[in-house]
Symmetry: C2
Subunit: 147 residues, 2 copies
């Protein structure tokens, strides 16, 4: 049976930068965690998410401890990998910062609705694991961001 | 652009019961959330996960507020769905309860290692969303648990 292996930091970063969708977790008042799937990009050394200020994410995005996860499962070969980034979220407010993000990533959200809030998660912790050996996790991604 | 639609409770439950892998979020001491991908099954009205008592999940599984998420993204057609179950985790200790779970689900973990701890998450909140109309989320799952 395949064993779990820790991914190197550089592998975690490459997988995180390649991704298109992930999941963010944060804690609501009362201490209950919540998980929200999102489109994202890595800009510089931070995850950037665009959301509505009225969404669950938008109302909890200011200076909040967050976890961000990307993963891929290969059900046929029982392979897989996951990467977890953790840090404290910030809302990007200055127009020049938003412009900086837009130069790298102009999000094309899948869903309609106003998404005027930009959230940045600079990770202070980045770890990942893979299941099994002899294969390249980056080759297993179904889609890859081209930056 | 497609809009987000709330899934009915029955749809959320069907998608949750059909799944094979998901992600659990909980809060570490200090208030930082963490996300861990897991194999799971729904047994009765609870999510059941098998883990090691020494894992991050195992050391936080006793009477802890948890979120559990399953999702599927269709990158070609920009469709997708996600389901979020929330509740408080319990460790299953009684042998007869473990037997009850095993009658329904004998997990075949992908990874090696001892996984002697059974964690049950009975949801008190189950919600979900889909992106776009005119398609069946259950038909979009790459694999489906056959119970």
């Amino acid at each position: 049976m395949p064993e779990l292996h820790e991914l190197r930091y550089s592998e975690c970063e490459a997988l995180l930068r390649a991704g298109v969708t992930g999941r963010v977790a944060f804690v609501e008042d009362g201490g209950r965690p919540v998980i929200v799937p999102v489109n994202y990009a890595v800009v510089g050394n931070a995850i950037v998410i665009r959301t509505s200020p009225y969404s669950l994410l938008g109302t909890h995005a200011r200076n909040t401890p967050m976890a961000f996860e990307v993963d891929q499962f290969d059900y046929v070969n029982h392979r897989g990998w996951s990467v977890l980034a953790r840090g404290t979220s910030k809302v990007i407010k200055h127009e020049d910062e938003i412009e900086e993000v837009r130069r790298v990533w102009e999000p094309q959200p899948w869903a309609g609705g106003s998404r005027s809030m930009w959230v940045r998660l600079r990770w202070d912790d980045l770890t990942g694991r893979r299941l099994g050996e002899g294969w390249d996790p980056l080759q297993g991604t179904p889609v890859r961001r081209s930056l």
